[in-house]
Symmetry: C2
């Protein structure tokens, strides 16, 4: 058996689809002394983390907390708690994460009604409305707000409004949107939403902030069958993450990762949510201009393009993998490959959270220019 040594990673610049650059304050928080997960000081930290997540999500939802696992588990938490076998769920698919939603629906014994749109385009509101008319048994409308695979922003506000007209609950994937563009859980009346720590929150990967409306909580409490996942059952988790005072043991929270998430949320609050959105919008404009100068075009229409996840066309004749390898090896710079149908055709350049700053944008454009010429 080989000799194993302490791993000393290089300092990469993370401009892929996530994880994105983690702020040093957040990394420092990770290394602080671990306290017990039922320690009164940790319980206070949990309460403060909840309040800061309410701020980030723009909600007063009492059931707002981080699931102790990555975004995929946050997705599953939303679906598993709201769906019962036999339900019908409308899922909007215009990228990888929509298809993952369909997979979740199926594994819960529910029937998906799929509204499909071209990757790189928005979900059609008309198609959603047509499907809702055609299938009066639909209980939930699920969609991805910021499609990390395509760089498209779906119209969350409009989709929620249509869903409400047809008396449906909504599940929204905000993994890549939270902290980067407007997300307004109460204003848009979203029923269940999940995000990830490692995108625009500038935190390490591993946690999934979620929030459930009071209406969603009622649905969860009055289920006919138990939630199929014990680990993700909100009926139990609420006793662990409940507001103030006594906690019922459920699982052991990832204490140091919560330190990190808390610190990243403190920083978001210091900057101000709207300022963070503006910073992403400004950074995006600079990046687009810089890329245009070296002949690299955007794939998505600017009216529904994500500032924090820039999907760009790989120029003719360029070796996708070779360029990414060279950026990584020579410049310690990571950009993302295309997924699914877009593999080999696009790069995904992330400007998320701490990674969205002039230093990174200048470096990325300059490094790409050198590698491509």
């Amino acid at each position: 058996m080989q000799d194993f040594r302490t791993f000393l990673p290089p300092e990469r610049t993370l401009m892929g689809p996530g994880p994105s650059d983690v702020h040093p304050r957040v990394l420092n928080a990770m290394a602080r002394s671990t306290v017990g997960h039922l320690d009164p000081l940790f319980i206070e930290l949990m309460d403060n983390t909840k309040q800061l997540l309410q701020y980030a999500f723009k909600t007063t939802n009492a059931l707002t907390m981080p699931v102790s696992a990555p975004g995929s588990a946050g997705m599953e938490a939303c679906f598993a708690n709201l769906i019962e076998a036999g339900d019908t769920v409308l899922v909007c698919v215009n990228g990888v994460f929509g298809t993952r939603m369909v997979e979740n629906v199926k594994r819960m014994g529910a029937t998906p009604v799929i509204v499909e749109d071209t990757w790189g385009e928005q979900t059609s509101l008309q198609k959603v409305e047509d499907a809702l008319k055609q299938h009066p048994d639909i209980k939930i409308v699920a969609f991805v707000h910021a499609e990390t695979s395509t760089g498209v922003r779906n119209d969350a506000q409009a989709l929620c409004e249509i869903a409400r007209q047809y008396d449906c609950l909504t599940i929204v994937d905000a993994v890549t949107s939270l902290g980067g563009i407007e997300v307004d859980v109460d204003g848009w009346q979203i029923d269940a939403i999940y995000s990830g720590s490692q995108k625009c929150l500038s935190c390490v990967p591993g946690l999934s902030p979620v929030s459930f409306s009071d209406k969603a909580v009622e649905v969860i409490k009055s289920r006919k069958t138990p939630v199929q996942s014990w680990f993700l059952d909100m009926n139990l988790i609420v006793g662990y993450w409940g507001q103030g005072g006594k906690r019922a043991y459920h699982h052991t929270a990832p204490v140091n990762s919560i330190y990190a998430l808390y610190e990243s949320l403190v920083m978001l609050k210091e900057e101000g949510l709207e300022n963070a959105w503006q910073r992403h919008a400004d950074g995006h404009k600079k990046l687009v201009a810089g890329l245009a100068n070296i002949g690299i075009d955007m794939v998505v229409d600017e009216n529904y393009r994500l500032p924090q996840l820039n999907v760009v066309r790989i120029p003719e004749g360029v070796d996708d993998a070779q360029v990414r390898k060279q950026l990584l090896d020579t410049y310690n710079l990571e950009i993302g490959a295309g997924l699914g149908d877009l593999a080999g055709k696009v790069w995904r350049i992330g400007l998320m959270g701490y990674a969205c700053k002039d230093r990174n944008i200048d470096h990325c454009v300059a490094a790409l220019k050198r590698v491509l010429t």
Copy 2:
């Protein structure tokens, strides 16, 4: 909204049921620069982490890796992958974590056959054999190796042998045993096993090492129905944690937590597995002697007592919560409360991983003595 500041935790001594003290090397690893989860250097780190987990579990099982979530999710991963609706599963219950297994079995649409023993006693091999004779349809035997709620070691080797005689698969909870007492996955022919990072591995909470035998992998591959959890489906995770080369994206691994787990395993390897077990046995003896001196008795028979989790009787007339609060407030020392039927009657004193050392043992006995007199 209040002002939120950076959280600066005190330096606690963690001698409860976990999380236990985290080694500074592991905390330092947490704070290192985050790399992408598909970065070639991270993929190499994943491979090395797998090899070190194989060392810790004493196995050559190819499917050995950490689930990206706490021990409860590792438990669910084992049950969800091996069970299909309609299966019959024997569960040994002699503490909290056995009952949690029953809950898992039920939520998967399977039928539990429960073999119950008194909390504080071992699972009766005879009762297990009787149940297997009586229910020839049992497919899986599940039990907890080290019951964190009672401090009892169940006889994992003997239980696996009986299960094999009746052609059953085994699922073993090794959350508190791994790294603290002998666990021999290949020697005992365990089919599925899960542990936690925050106990005898001296790592932060949040990850659950698991291992599946080739026989278990065959069962998972030939399922008639999909695994009910997408996030925990080993058919997909194996493509992400697969040995060497190309990885299929599944979820985003908690990069910095993997740094930490890796570092803790490097340290286990440096110490040597058998030496770590011996250190726990030696520490236990010292603690028992020290506690006896101040009139505190052990609850569990010494033949099947866990060295790393000492369940002790609270002396007559002593206020449980008050003592624990005083230890925490005055000495920054955490010990654990009793769970379930044992609440108010016992304390749980952990000697896990880095926490199992003379400094802690001396401090714990001295502090308890002062608080009790």
